[in-house]
Subunit: 138 residues, 2 copies
């Protein structure tokens, strides 16, 4: 079977074969020019609405994890019962609106570079993320 090669590289580089289901997942995640935040549940819902393809939860989890590992998606470090992912993989930060449980991007340029003076022997910093929790201002 041959597929639209559009997402073949992305899939192969993530260690995944291109399949109907995975290509559909790619389309939902990467077709838009807008980046967005989502949970696995969200993604499954979008696919169900858009496509006549049945994709199991397990496949969605596997695929999202592979993209996350490869760096095509970023998991956002907030405490929540569900994991949130971001299609915007550029270096940036987040507001987390505690009233509405919603994430809002903060561009890297809107945060001064975070300098950490402490070091841990034998370890290097892989990423630095800033989460600013926001609430209604009364």
């Amino acid at each position: 079977m041959t597929y639209d090669p559009k997402y073949e590289n992305k899939l192969r580089e993530s260690g995944l074969r291109p399949t109907k289901q995975r290509i559909k997942i790619c389309e939902v995640l990467f077709d838009s020019t807008e980046t967005f935040h989502f949970t696995i549940k969200d993604l499954v819902k979008i696919i169900e609405n858009q496509a006549n393809i049945k994709v199991s939860l397990a496949t969605v989890y596997n695929t999202v994890h592979a993209f996350n590992k490869k760096g095509y998606l970023k998991e956002i470090p907030i405490n929540s019962s569900q994991s949130y992912y971001d299609t915007n993989i550029s270096h940036h930060h987040h507001f987390f609106d505690e009233d509405e449980n919603k994430l809002i991007d903060i561009d890297q340029n809107d945060v001064d570079e975070v300098m950490i003076k402490k070091t841990i022997p034998g370890k290097k910093i892989k990423s630095i993320e800033v989460i600013a929790k926001i609430v209604t201002d009364n």
Copy 2:
């Protein structure tokens, strides 16, 4: 029944009556001068080892949540299957060691103040947290 008044205020201010179980939880969390990171499971295990008091999971969850809400504990924003809490409620940040799944405090003085230029109308910033993920440096 009357109890050691040591933790009565803390409990009452958190909206909780002082009870045997809750006082034991307070002792484990707040008696030490050392601050520490823990999960609910950790806390239950410590109590089981130290005390001849039986405390149910539900009670531990309720009590920790009340303290977190009141600000006597802080939940640490990392993605993990379990929630991590911190008895150090001063403003500070964290390394998360991805090799060992361990948190390490970063004193506020070791991070330049984080300035965020973006604002959201009607919202105010409640907290700013920096998570720096670290890995073995090869």
